[in-house]
Symmetry: C2
Subunit: 563 residues, 2 copies
Amino acid sequence: MKISTRAKVTALSALAVGTALLVPDIAVAVNPAPASLAASAGATRHDPAGDASSSVKAAIDSGDAKNVILLIGDGMGDSEITVARNYQYGAAGRLPGIDALPLTGQYTTYSLYREGANKGKPDYVPDSAATGSAWATGTKTYDNAISVDIDQAPQPTILEIAKANGLKTGDVTTSEIQDATPAVLVSHVDARSCYGPDSPTCGNDALAAGGLGSISEQLIGTRPDVALGGGSASFTQTANAGQWAGQTLFDQATERGYQVVGDAAGLTAVTAASQKAPVLGLFTPGNFPTRYAPTTATVGGADLPAVSCQPNPERLSSDLSLGSLTTTAISLLDNKKGFFLQVEGASIDKRDHSADACGQIGETVDFDEAVQAALAFAEKDGNTLVLVTADHAHSSQIVDSTPPTSLSTALATADGTVMKVSYGTAGVGGSQQHTGSQLGVAGFGPGAANIVGLTDQTDTFFTMSNALELDRNTTAFSERARLSVDRSVKPGSTVTVKADRFGGDRQVSASMAPGRAVLEPTDIIDSAATISFTAPTALGDYTVTVTGAQSGKQVTAKFTVKK
Amino acid sequence: MKISTRAKVTALSALAVGTALLVPDIAVAVNPAPASLAASAGATRHDPAGDASSSVKAAIDSGDAKNVILLIGDGMGDSEITVARNYQYGAAGRLPGIDALPLTGQYTTYSLYREGANKGKPDYVPDSAATGSAWATGTKTYDNAISVDIDQAPQPTILEIAKANGLKTGDVTTSEIQDATPAVLVSHVDARSCYGPDSPTCGNDALAAGGLGSISEQLIGTRPDVALGGGSASFTQTANAGQWAGQTLFDQATERGYQVVGDAAGLTAVTAASQKAPVLGLFTPGNFPTRYAPTTATVGGADLPAVSCQPNPERLSSDLSLGSLTTTAISLLDNKKGFFLQVEGASIDKRDHSADACGQIGETVDFDEAVQAALAFAEKDGNTLVLVTADHAHSSQIVDSTPPTSLSTALATADGTVMKVSYGTAGVGGSQQHTGSQLGVAGFGPGAANIVGLTDQTDTFFTMSNALELDRNTTAFSERARLSVDRSVKPGSTVTVKADRFGGDRQVSASMAPGRAVLEPTDIIDSAATISFTAPTALGDYTVTVTGAQSGKQVTAKFTVKK
């Protein structure tokens, strides 16, 4: 029997992905005339008569990138990629996004022990906090750490640095926006579960303890231009310390200038995102529901009739799919100075933990649509580095026969055959584990060649930062900070201090001497802030000191209270 | 605590690998000054201030290769590579061979169903027979098939084609030389277990059934210049059909011109390998013992004290290590016309099947030494394509906590920490399964860029064949075949027929008319063969017909028997 799986696959793919963008011309040397899979050269992906050398060479762009889009499939090891491809497009098919990137490599993902005799030594199976911190900061750290080093010192993140360098920034996920992978860009805490002011795990990071605050509170302060995902529940919590004490985080965000949206209509109404009016779109209290309804792996489950994944009735509308959110984020971020955007498909990991094959597959397919959206933009833009990778490997394995004690599921695939997926690292009801394998990383655009070969996850930070030509010494950006204030004010009138050139800071604090040790902190927006307070009634000379919260830079200005 | 794991690792690596060759200058952009792993940029593998674009570009060589060395780690998925690296060199260390290759990609490994409703459709978890056949022939086939397609039609192999194109050829393994991975280069059978004439599974492939013969018998006929490995047991079997019936395969090989060696001293005494005197070195009855003594994973085993791998007292002497055999094979094959060599580290797979972590690690380290040997030659030669990959993924996973029902082992690694390895696809005493994940593939030298991105295992055949500029239409090589014979011979004297220009064949058969339908087949050596037989006593004109066994080309010559 001669079959033409590839033709079937293409038809299916068009059907399944719907309006997804296809970017085939990025991939190198695609086989132009695949025959039956069983024929000589019938299964090759490249043109068997061709040579990809020149197209691979052409894919290497040593220039600088204006934009970087980093796409993270959480827990998306090579096994998870293959599971999704086999199911959705067939084994000989292509994930239209992930499989299209022309440059490929692998990286190591280990974390470090934080304490005891093993402090600083490799911990072979990392969590998403340590791994995210690795690419976000270039510093290896311990499991549970959000962009702090093994001594809990905050490490500047690629998003913070990009922002200080004048780029727009975005953070998009299908999980709670406080989850480790989105959190590493915008916050620095010791315990990843420190989501909001009510979290009992914040410890010294809580504002009340003099820390930087919970992840949600730090996110507001970091002020990415675009933050889209789930996790609205934490924003309904009320700050219990600091200048916003007693207000919900949603109210705080609104007061600090955010455009807060909670549904597709709200997001559609947003026409611009900037430091003056950043966008905070949180569409679910927790994580997004996945594309496909969950399946349950059981001991012996792969011996049961193979299942087809079913649409998840809980799924958000298609304009809130990860692909759509990616397109929206890009359109809001695209500007002449460039942008940094991270996009995460979070539930590949989460559903793998739950031994839910269809959940995991659907999220990988959704993530692939986000990759397609990024590539479509990058291809047109010509000046955008796109990196696609994962944070850590995971449990799911494609097996030949049903394993005797592991959980397993049989799936009816696009090929019309059966794929058995096994989860062997936890028992019934347990959480399947991350695994310690090195991972694939793929790239397109300026600087992408830096991911070829074997790198470490921390290399990714430098690949992105170097491609964008970021100056990482951001505290120096506030060195020429200055203040302006009216020399002379009436007693009890409003004093307006204009702080400028504070590009290395996200907030400033102010004080007045004699008299007021601390005025409320103020957001720096586009390097500047305006601080207003009531002038003393006592006549005389006063000094205002404004201090950069990140740079520590202090600038003073004098004024006189006169009748 | 500041640590310097990298320094320790380097020292350890030198100690552990002993005299292994280091080829660091092939890898791109190595971090020149790694600090503590916990420092910013302390764990990067590339120079954090550098750009690898130009070195990656420089690694792309679109020229033709004189030689190809294909190194296969059987069952060496990314997880198995990481397990070995973590154990032997530490997580931040490098496998000096595997991790040094500058160009990297991934490929799919699925096989096809051979029959029934699923015939020709993807089978997601392949065996080593189907996968080896894929790169050996460029044709996808079914599990169990050795270089035949799904309709059992023999497919020309890269070794056969290279040989017909005038290259020297070699086949080196740590397994039985009849095992699937080495067998796919030199034989064509329906059942991979058809090792020798005594095998009950040969069926229609047996010589007695009119087939091409067992794998061992076909190996002799394919006549690679160098074949080194285990599996001498099958060569002590006696042919039960054909012209060598009644003789052992060892005797047959010797009579057909082979230099047969069985120990290190014998191999050392070999000074050249050629078609006139190819080398058959079989050093064990079965598979080679591994570098490290076996360990046994048990349910809950990773909760036991971590073990250090112990030297295996059964291991062959170091001059028969896979690295040494690779060096020896290269030195015997290197010639001005070029060569094709495949080297397999077979027991990564075999020990993974047995949930033997130390066995699997030791074989990966041995395999890595073979890669180092290949790279050392290729770097000096400047005209050699080196590809390093695997045939299929496997079971072992690095986990964080001891899985409840899977087998596991805890290992004390070079980092001074503990790595837990889990095997979850079979129970106690069962065979851990291959898995269906896509695999890494790495390359160096002319044509290596063809492995970048996502390819299929069958692409590898074309990558190698194109790099070597092989003419795959080898049967045409016999088109200008010719014979010479004395026009006139005495009755009963010896007739000597010289066959020439039979470059598309490995054997020829001959017949004489009137009188003898079949003369014994004769090996073609360097395109030629000499066929001798006794002239008839009856006077008259006779015609000799010589037929190429592979090409079917027939050439005739006439002679007259005269007083």
